[in-house]
Symmetry: C2
Subunit: 306 residues, 2 copies
């Protein structure tokens, strides 16, 4: 069970090496990251994109491409469709965004012929390794699903529980967050949080322990949970999954943690047939490496359960 | 202009000493805080509550009460009405919660005869001093207004701009936050953020610079703002006021910062005839002291503008 990203990287090194297919790979930061993953033995890669540009960037980086598969497709949309089809056809285990618009990249993920649809709704998970915390935290959804309905939230929980399992965390604790820890009929977020808790008790959401609504302090801080004296709760500052009521709450919190706290993170899209890595240009090398390691573990888990 | 809480405390020491009226003062943490404020020369206090219990707690703390005004009222509701009336009548400059339910305390604030209503809507402001940041950040509303309408948001901005001015920050920059920095018709929060920006440009919101929607990184991190290359924006990582779309986004972010980042904070209710200090039991001594200093500066500013 990974409690930090360094433990998670160790886990990813010790499984069968994976292969990542990169859409529009002519991007310096992305090439650095796939080189890092190769050097650690986590993943080889297939670089789909403009071969001339890929070679030029690699030369500038002093990166030897003789061990890399390169598929020369100049047009970005076509390159993304080729790259995703390699994952679709089982030639690669995971799919990563390069120098292509997020919208176009996601269109390739959702492509009916060559994409990675499973019928399950997609969601995003961001894994945080907070200095001083004794476990990883799985934040969802901070980037993909804007206003999840109750049904969406059930799907998001299911998707994220699978990611936790891939990281060795069985029966994770899920905290549907709100501003308060009690149900307030005037706050639909708290009503839905209680509903999710009930569905979990009734066996309609399985493989995890749901307890909400919870304020963030009661979800992640055992001292705060003890101080406020909440009794009979299943989560006492020890949540694994932080479920946000909507994208604004999720995204602002996520960015506050990145900018104000000492955290390292990794993230991916889930609900797909294979892990999808959608890091942004502003993400550091470390975040991209963490995301590749996370995706490799998830790919391994999907293979074993296939 | 205060850039940190230690500067803010210095400012509060250098103005005319204030007086705080405490509702139901028989609370160890509250007595410690008013003693701190007295020792620093920021505020004297009137302790309204059960005199026997107040004396007993003070004795345990080794606190000499000979210099404190004590008003003996055993019943908590009556004590709060007495304490708020002292502020209403100008005997004290600010009003602080002691050992009384938040609901009952707020009822005394809103009492039509002896309370502190001004006709303006109330809101909450939380001031953050983040290690490494070169300015204070004013978060609103993370605790009081659940789902602000556009009109509520205008009022919240006006209330918070007044607090900034009291801290020596003229023409503060206001960032209406969302998950994204562009208007998306499917996200009403972004539409309202743009509307607030327009109202500011048209002179309907004055004394500040509004620029939204903004994601948190673009609002508070100059490097992120530069990296994402947003041009023509009035806020480039230098926001003073962070306006949250609703209480869930605000409260979860606030608690993430308290629990995961090295921050110190102070907070108060504003929109009232005099500052109202509503710290919670889980707030540290430092937070209570910061809140008293903030309230003293605001009381001073209200007096000068009266």
């Amino acid at each position: 069970m990974a409690k930090t990203f360094s433990e998670l990287l160790e886990m990813a090194k010790n499984i069968e090496k994976k292969k990542v297919s990169v859409a529009v790979a002519q991007d310096e930061e992305v090439l650095r990251a796939v080189k890092g993953a190769k050097d650690l033995g986590i993943a080889d890669s297939i670089l789909v994109g403009d071969a001339d540009k890929i070679n030029e960037i690699a030369a500038n980086l002093g990166m030897d491409l003789s061990d890399y598969e390169i598929v020369d497709v100049k047009d970005p949309i076509e390159a993304s469709l080729k790259a995703v089809s390699l994952v679709h056809d089982g030639e690669a285990d995971m799919y990563m965004k390069g120098l292509i618009d997020t919208k176009d990249f996601l269109r390739s993920v959702l492509n009916k012929e060559v994409g990675l649809r499973t019928g399950k709704p997609l969601s995003h998970v961001c894994v945080f390794d907070v200095e001083g915390a004794d476990k990883l935290m799985f934040l969802t959804d901070v980037a993909f699903v804007p206003y999840p309905t109750l049904e969406d939230k059930v799907n998001i929980i299911n998707n994220t529980v699978e990611i936790c399992k891939a990281c060795g965390i069985d029966n994770p604790k899920v905290a549907p967050l709100a501003a308060v820890e009690v149900v307030n009929p005037k706050m639909p977020e708290t009503v839905e949080a209680a509903e999710l808790t009930k569905m979990n008790e009734e066996g309609k959401i399985t493989g995890c322990i749901v307890d909400g609504p919870l304020s963030l302090d009661l979800a992640v801080c055992p001292e705060a949970a003890a101080h406020k004296g909440a009794t009979g709760r299943k989560i006492v500052g020890d949540a694994d999954i932080l479920l946000f009521p909507n994208i604004h709450a999720g995204n602002i919190t996520y960015k506050a943690m990145v900018h104000f706290a000492k955290v390292t993170n990794g993230n991916m899209i889930t609900g797909t047939a294979a892990p999808v890595i959608l890091t942004s240009r502003s993400d550091t090398y470390e975040v991209k490496m963490n995301s590749l390691a996370l995706a490799a573990l998830v790919a391994d888990s999907l293979k074993k359960n296939a």
